[in-house]
């Protein structure tokens, strides 16, 4: 096409400006497209891992119907998604075997031979051939007869069960194979027969050559999702398919659809929904900034072409030709910027995916990313159009001899932006956390960007008037440099563009940095508390004593590892060794204050070993019509709850009973002595005698010998309950209508617990989740290591004394201090304990980072970098174009005798003032935006209950980022100023406008 060469040459002629426009277009396109590209990859990872972890029936649909239309239905269904495997056809008929009456499914499933392991024989190939499981026990060549399938009626009219010849014996396959759709088909092989046999595999020809008898063939087709091919973009289609499967079943009453897909779908929905808001926020701000920058730079580019466009009009070129000529350069640049920006975005996203995603997923340019990139460029196109229109419509002669016009910028746009900002801010402040389905909050989402623009707008109103004020004094006092700088700023319009961009870019950079520092600090904070320690190992032992011993052996130092038994509660309970916990847990409080508060003075345990238990008492006379029975409560190893042994009526001196068998080998613990009263009919209810049963000795028998146990029966500190211990022994007071019980005071009546929330004087679940004891809450603030929900930390030893067993849901965690993971893990492994993969705090942070909101955080960081780069670029560009426009002026000044240093300082001072003003406006708006918006932007998929999140950005980081950007901008400005000044020669006046 004619003019291409000229366009390219023109771009080269204005290469600096062209390059800047390209960069200004490319950077936001790249950053805006990274979000959708990476989000898609991350979403794909989530989809694939979630599906891979689901059971087979959660990964597809199984259509069944008593007619042969099913395969066609399923094929049509499977055509609806490229991520679906082709349907697996099948048919089956369930009927009893003629002799054993065990029900066998006679079935065929397309491809069955590849999914079972043949032990002997071969796969069925002809009608009447079957393959049986080894568990079914039919030998090769045996003819199995099932009642449901009979031979075709012979002329004699008799019908006999069709013989099915065994041609192969298979080994029951892995039921997790998606081919079987998670059906419990091989129960016989697994050992649960209950009258059901393993499938008899045959071929469809069998069905044709036989006739059914009291049974029906069910046609089936299974459609399975290909978890290696599905992407996040397929999710809506997947949901549609699932819905349409249900509709199919509703429309055809004979067709039944089985699917567990709803479960994973729901999970996926909640996982992916959390990505939307923050990503949208980032993209929206970037698009906004991109618009602004492109608008200014593209306008510059078109304006720089003004003389040529005027020339085209002078030569009488037609409208179309003038427009094409005028827009060619910017449009070429924008057209190049889109694919280049997308390519850059793709590269960045690939790098991020490589670093953050655990599964290799495709990283591709998505429609959304193209849209985001194109949205960014739209600003440039609009700017190019407006600027070109301006150049193309105004009188040609004005290009050569400009008539000074009143160029005051109206307040209307400013007023609109300020009003919208105010509304958005108000909306933001009055709503809670922004969520996906609150579409009306678009205004609130745009607040950071709007605030930045608004602050910049205000500052570019304020700065020129300030300069005008200072103008007078400096004319008299200051040097020519100051005077020139201030005059230039006071002129206004030249300054405004730079200020708006600088203010906006600094604002967004500040906001992004603040958001990044807040969010990453919150990730760290939450991971510290939720993981509890730097690393957490999971193991399992028989008892608390073993657990403690194992940790002691693995870490003799006592400061590197802590045993933590975790009970789900609620409230959640961590039982630990306070001294070790204080060293190992992610805890900022002084360790000592913690150790002291969990302990308690308690009596020693009363342990019993042997085959028989005996309690010596002073016999009492039992009132008429009373039936009194005594019991001993025991904690027995291997028993889930209290074990009571009956001791009979206290009318004898010796009450004895056999101990549970477990107590012969392992110590049981005496946990209480109690008695209760029943009344026989005829009792006199008005008579209330008091019985005091005095126990004087506890003894056990082992190896045929009785031995007294030190139960502290005379020590009042060792027993508590409805009685007393004293010199005479342990007295249980028994009154009418009451039971009596004394327990060894081996644990405090209220268990001290460091709690993260005060929920009243609750019971703690205890190691057996039996809620046996109240807790004495010691509030220690909202964040307690290891507690992600309301709960408390208790002493492991005391908790063990309360409990009768360890609940199966208790998790045996070993918390490890930083740097000692390998040693502690090896120490545990050396003792032969099972040790699972450690849960690392860093791993938790990584997980938060790769979930939706975390990804947005990464994007924000990139946005910050992009904003800083753009601010820098704009600073240079502003200087460049300002100095270029004033090249003649500078040359004239130089010709008139102004010295270069004065000009240099004027240029630099001007830029310094503008940069500083822009930074000030930007930082202010960024901090306000952070304060207003950050608490309302979701950071976690599931907002943590504890610890509370904080929203104070790190000030040193903010200072470093803005200071660094300012410094870089200054250096760039200085360098550019120098280059430009070198280029200013009085001889440029020759070509001055005349």
């Amino acid at each position: 096409m004619r003019g291409w060469g000229l366009t390219l040459r023109g771009l080269w002629e204005r290469r600096t400006l062209s390059l800047i426009v390209l960069v200004v277009a490319l950077v936001p396109v790249a950053t805006a497209s990274v979000g959708p590209i990476f989000a898609e990859s991350a979403g794909t990872e989530i989809v694939r891992t979630t599906l891979a972890e689901s059971t087979p029936d959660e990964r597809g649909w199984r259509f069944t119907a008593p007619h042969s239309g099913v395969p066609a239905q399923a094929a049509r269904f499977a055509a609806g998604g490229s991520f679906l495997h082709p349907p697996i056809k099948g048919m089956e008929l369930l009927s009893p075997e003629a002799t054993s009456l065990t029900k066998y499914p006679l079935m065929w499933q397309d491809g069955q031979c590849e999914h079972v392991t043949l032990l002997v024989g071969r796969c069925p190939a002809a009608a009447g051939e079957i393959m049986v499981s080894r568990a079914a026990g039919f030998p090769l060549g045996h003819r199995v007869r099932v009642t449901g399938v009979i031979e075709r009626p012979k002329p004699d009219g008799k019908s006999r069960p069709a013989p099915l010849q065994v041609v192969g014996v298979y080994h029951a396959p892995n039921p997790g194979d998606p081919f079987w759709f998670g059906r419990n088909l091989f129960a016989q092989s697994a050992g649960f027969t209950e009258g059901n046999g393993d499938p008899l595999f045959t071929v469809p020809a069998t069905r044709e050559s036989t006739v059914v008898n009291g049974a029906t063939w069910t046609d089936a087709a299974t459609v399975v999702i290909d978890a290696t091919r599905i992407t996040a973009a397929d999710l809506p289609r997947l949901a549609e398919l699932d819905a349409s499967a249900q509709q199919l079943a509703n429309a055809d009453t004979e067709t039944i659809v089985f699917s567990g897909l709803a479960g994973p779908l729901g999970e996926l929905r909640s996982q992916t929904a959390s990505l939307g808001v923050p990503a949208l926020l980032v993209i929206a701000q970037l698009v906004g900034l991109g618009w602004l920058l492109l608008f200014l730079t593209v306008s510059d580019l078109v304006t720089a072409r003004g003389p040529e466009i005027a020339l085209a009009r002078l030569r009488g070129h037609g409208r179309l030709r003038v427009w094409r000529f005028g827009l060619a350069e910017p449009l070429v640049l924008l057209a190049v910027a889109l694919p280049a920006g997308l390519a850059l975005g793709l590269a960045l996203a690939s790098a991020m995916a490589g670093a953050l995603l655990t599964v290799a997923v495709p990283v591709t340019v998505t429609g959304q990313s193209v849209l985001a990139g194109a949205a960014v460029l739209l600003g440039g196109v609009v700017a190019a159009g407006l600027a070109a229109r301006n150049v193309a419509v105004r009188p040609v002669t004005e290009e050569w001899r400009r008539t000074p016009r009143r160029t005051a910028r109206g307040w209307i746009i400013d007023a609109v932006i300020l009003a919208v900002t105010g509304l958005g801010l108000a909306e933001l402040l009055t709503t809670g956390i922004i969520t996906e389905n609150s579409g009306q909050q678009a205004g609130a989402l745009a607040v950071p960007g709007l605030l930045a623009v608004a602050a910049a707008l205000l500052s570019c109103r304020f700065l020129p008037s300030l300069a005008r004020r200072l103008f007078g004094p400096t004319r008299r006092a200051g040097g020519i440099g100051v005077f020139l700088a201030l005059r230039q700023i006071a002129r206004g319009p030249a300054t405004a563009g730079s200020l708006i961009v600088l203010g906006t870019a600094f604002g967004l950079a500040t906001f992004a940095t603040a958001a990044w520092s807040v969010t990453s600090a919150n990730f760290e904070r939450v991971a510290r508390i939720h993981n509890g320690a730097d690393a957490v190992l999971i193991t399992r032992t028989e008892s608390v004593a073993d657990f403690r011993k194992a940790v002691e052996r693995a870490d003799p130092s006592g400061v590197r590892a802590a045993p933590v038994l975790v009970l789900p509660g609620p409230p959640k309970m961590l039982a630990t060794d306070p001294a070790r916990f204080a060293h190992v847990a992610n805890w900022d409080r002084p360790a000592a204050s913690l150790t002291g508060r969990l302990g308690a003075d308690v009596a020693p345990r009363v342990t019993l070993t042997g085959d028989r238990f005996r309690l010596r008492i002073h016999p009492v006379e039992i009132p008429k019509y009373w039936e009194v029975r005594m019991f001993a409560d025991l904690r027995v190893p291997g028993e889930a709850t209290v074990k009571s042994i009956p001791l009979g009526a206290p009318d004898r001196a010796m009450l004895e009973w056999g101990l549970p068998p477990a107590c012969r080998t392992a110590p049981c613990e005496l946990r209480g002595l109690r008695g209760d009263v029943s009344y026989l009919s005829g009792a006199d209810m008005d008579e209330h005698p008091l019985l005091a049963i005095e126990a004087t000795e506890v003894a056990t028998r082992s190896g045929g010998r009785w031995r007294a146990i030190d139960a502290g029966l005379t020590d009042p500190d060792r027993w508590r309950g409805t009685g007393s211990a004293g010199a005479d022994g342990l007295t249980l007071d028994m009154a009418a209508f009451t039971a009596t019980k004394m327990i060894p005071a081996t644990y405090p009546e209220e268990l001290p617990a460091l709690v993260n929330s005060l929920t009243g004087n609750d019971f703690t679940p205890g190691l057996d989740q039996a809620y046996l004891v109240r807790q004495a809450p010691v509030p220690v603030g909202p964040a307690v290591p290891g507690l992600d929900v309301p709960g408390g930390v208790v002493d492991l030893e005391l908790a063990d004394r309360v409990a009768f067993a360890i609940h199966p849901k208790a998790e045996f965690q070993v918390w490890v201090a930083p740097g000692h993971l390998a040693a502690v893990r090896d120490g545990l492994l050396a003792q032969g304990l099972p040790v699972y993969e450690p849960r690392l705090m860093s791993g938790l942070v990584a997980r938060y980072s790769s979930q939706g909101p975390g990804l947005a955080l990464m994007l924000l960081l990139m946005a910050a970098i992009a904003a800083a780069v753009l601010a820098l670029g704009r600073a240079v560009l502003a200087l460049y174009s300002a100095a270029r426009q004033r090249g003649y002026e500078l040359a004239a000044l130089e010709a008139a005798g102004a010295r270069t240093p004065a000009l240099r300082s004027a240029l630099l001072l001007e830029q310094l003032i503008i940069l500083c003003a822009g930074m000030l406006a930007g930082v202010t708006s960024g901090v306000v935006a952070a304060w207003a918006a950050l608490p309302r932007i979701p950071e976690f998929v599931v907002p943590p209950i504890t610890p509370p999140l904080l929203y104070e950005p790190s000030l040193p980081l903010l200072a470093a980022v803005t200071g660094g950007a300012l410094l870089a901008a200054l250096v760039a400005a200085a360098v550019t100023a120098e280059i430009l000044l070198r280029g200013v020669r009085p001889d440029r006046l020759r070509g001055a406008p005349g």
């Binding site: 002629e13 070129h317 020759r990």
Partner: protein, 283 residues
């Protein structure tokens, strides 16, 4: 015969932020087809403005301007564009302004051609005639002022215009190349019988052209033909006295008009004096 250019009481006013500048006031002028006209006058007199008007780049604030019989004020912008593309060649005062600096001479000439497809033969011929033939030339932006001016003339002739308007086309040329450019312009005028208007300060140029028109203070002051200058009686009988007579009749002088058979005589009138004394005192 329709005049190539006909100005009837043209007034051009530039409006700026602070004031209004009257660049042309009451210009009456007729230029016939095929005429070659030199526009003379001091700087700021309004020569360029008049040229721009004739190029259809401005519309007169008042008065009527006809180009080849059509009223410029009534033409649509599109029609004006078409007219410029087909019939008018313009050389602007600042030589670099006529050119796309990063394009070659040939591209520059082609750019001014009307057709979308350049007529390469004519381009080469024009470049040859201004001494810029061959391909060895750099981009227009790198050429000297003189080369640029010659190229500008070639560009203006690219569409074989019926009306060639040149604003000081020889200002940066030495005498010899200046003459060559003027010869080119004149030759073209004869060949294509086109009308030529050249703004110039160079007496050599004005002598080479058929007619001179001096603009002064926004008015047509004097006209010259074949080396002789005439004042032009303007609307309502206004006459601009050429500066060389200002010593005799300085501005503000009261004068007496004495009718003669073929015109009038202007005589300074001292208060109380009669005409004869005045003439004597003047000698």
């Amino acid at each position: 015969m329709t005049a190539a250019v006909r100005c009837d009481g043209i007034v051009q006013i530039y409006r700026t932020r602070e004031l209004e500048v009257v660049a042309l006031r009451d210009v009456d002028l007729v230029i016939d087809p095929g005429e070659t006209v030199a526009l003379l006058g001091p700087s700021g007199a309004g020569k360029s403005t008049l040229l721009w008007l004739m190029a259809g780049l401005l519309r007169p604030s008042a008065g009527r301007l006809r180009l080849n019989g059509s009223d410029v004020s009534r033409l649509s912008p599109r029609a004006l564009d078409r007219m410029r593309a087909a019939d008018i060649g313009v050389v602007l005062q600042n030589p670099s302004r006529n050119l796309i600096p990063y394009a070659t001479p040939a591209q520059n000439v082609a750019f001014a051609q009307r057709a979308a497809r350049p007529d390469r033969r004519r381009v080469a011929e024009l470049l040859d005639r201004v001494g810029l033939g061959g391909n060895r030339h750099p981009h227009a932006g790198r050429m000297s002022g003189g080369e640029q001016q010659r190229l500008a003339v070639a560009v203006a002739l690219a569409n074989a215009p019926r009306l060639l308007l040149a604003d000081e086309p020889t200002s940066q040329l030495d005498a010899a190349s200046g003459e060559a450019v003027i010869d080119l312009i004149k030759e073209t005028a004869v060949e294509t019988s086109s009308t030529v208007v050249v703004v110039t300060h160079d007496p050599v140029v004005s002598e080479a052209l058929g007619r001179t028109i001096t603009i002064r203070d926004g008015r047509v002051g004097t006209e010259g033909r074949h080396g002789e200058d005439f004042v032009v009686i303007g609307r309502e009988g206004a006459v601009q006295l050429p500066p060389e007579f200002h010593e005799l009749l300085p501005p503000g002088t009261m004068a007496r008009i004495e009718p003669l058979a073929d015109g009038v005589v202007l005589r300074r009138a001292e208060p109380g004096d009669d005409g004869d004394e005045t003439r004597r005192a003047g000698r």
